[in-house]
Amino acid sequence: MKSRREFIKTTATGALLLGSSAAADKLGFAVMLDNQHAASSKSRVVVARDTDLHGQDGQLDEKRVLALLDRAIATYTGHDKPVEAWKRIVPMDKVIGLKVNGLGGKGISTHAALVMAVCERLQQAGVKAGNILVWDRNARDLQACGLTVSTDPNRIRVYGSDVAGFETEPAAFGLAVNVKLAKILTRECDMVLNLPILKDHEMAGVTFAMKNMYGVVQHPNELHAAGCNPGVADLNCIPVVRHKVRFTIGDAMTSVYDGGPGFHPERLWQPSALIVGEDRVALDQTAWQMIERKRAEVGMPTLEGAGRPPRYIATAADAAHGLGVNDPKHIHLLEV
């Protein structure tokens, strides 16, 4: 783990490679972040925490969520001014999707407070409200996140694949054959910010950045074999998933360390953190270790011991998939 000063120095060097921010805007999002990567051989992951995030009643303090998001993004980009930082992450004139996760139902879904905070900063950075599309599988999942469905093109749009539908032609990579992708991903969004929630998973071991993509296919249950391995890795290799879903702002404010992915209040825990980065494999590796630490703390067996290690993470890092790195030596982790 590096110090914040050292970390920001590295990211600032990456930013300098870009020249002016106007030039960066012309290059587009992918180039902006890939150039930053060129400055460091390691994948960067920021874990930002606020132990006072939840009030005494257990509810999230929305102002603190916004402040935590700002801290995470500032640390990641090296820009202390939130609006400037967001301009480094998203193109202003494109449709930006926010893929949330409401599968676990009320109580263990991406928090609306985080969605609102991201939307606020995106708009301040210059993204039009109508160009922001918050989505998941269906209205019920979105409602579980505390969101209200809206298709008004002049406002932030919130709807699921139950409204927009799926492609009729299947996409494929490896095992993930015959998956019909959400039209919201394929046709409506130019870029997707991934907003998963950290959870234990009965089959996959852990669900976070990569597993959240199960919500972009029509029949995710068909990818569950063998602990979702290589299903998760294969799905993330489908070009439109790989290229459009480029940045993750992971919700680890509340989590379940066992019994997931559904809501099991007896296994609930509050890491009070956001996990941010581009490398989906490094993010999942980091998230997995957080769950393992919690399980050890309460005397539970490791996920390997429980018979469900998240093997898909190593698969995603292998040469055939090349989605990122899972070796901690190659992950540049900064906890702030």
Binding site: G58, L103, G105, K106, G107, H201, E202, M203, A204, T207, Y214, P220, N221, H224, D258, G259, G260, P261, G262, F263, H264, P265, E266
Partner: protein, 163 residues
């Protein structure tokens, strides 16, 4: 004459068979969800949704497989509210037999407090789980207050009485 007698007998047989099937189905599909007000201070706040085993992933994707492997036939779910504040969800899993319900219930509940419900029941601060014959019931509250355990237990007894 003889022909019409046979026809009449056949009609009676078909009607009786249909009645038996109907009664059988009705028994199998008994509504286990207490209506609003049936349990003091509890309101039923959603329609009941039912998922056949093959569609269970639509409701609990990722969790569904353990129920399917234990022989789930269908799962019904409904939302409730206590004193217009505390929200809860009741899931009733109809398993193929009592062994299936036992198998699910024995998974990960060893640290729970046993309670008198159905064939066996346990309780945590925000949830109650019990089984009765082929039924496995899980009731979860979304908030922890001092009154939550008692309120959940009352609702659980209401569900149990309808199974």
């Amino acid at each position: 004459m003889f022909r019409s007698k046979i026809l009449r007998l056949a009609t009676v047989a078909v009607v009786m068979a249909a009645a038996v099937t109907f009664i059988g189905c009705k028994k199998h599909q008994a509504d286990p969800f207490p209506a609003s007000g049936a349990i003091a201070d509890w309101q039923k706040t959603s329609d009941t949704r039912t998922f056949a085993a093959k569609d269970l992933w639509q409701y609990i994707d990722g969790d569904a497989e353990q129920y399917v492997s234990a022989g789930v036939v269908s799962t019904s779910t409904s939302d409730y509210k206590f004193q217009n504040q505390l929200e809860a969800t009741v899931d009733v899993h109809t398993m193929g037999d009592a062994a299936g319900a036992r198998k699910i219930m024995e998974t990960g509940t060893s640290d729970a407090k046993p309670v008198q419900l159905g064939d066996a029941g346990v309780q945590y601060a925000q949830s109650v789980i019990f089984r009765k014959g082929p039924y496995l019931v899980r009731i979860v509250a979304y908030e922890s207050t001092p009154g939550t355990p008692q309120a959940l237990l009352a609702l659980a007894h209401g569900v149990e009485a309808k199974l």
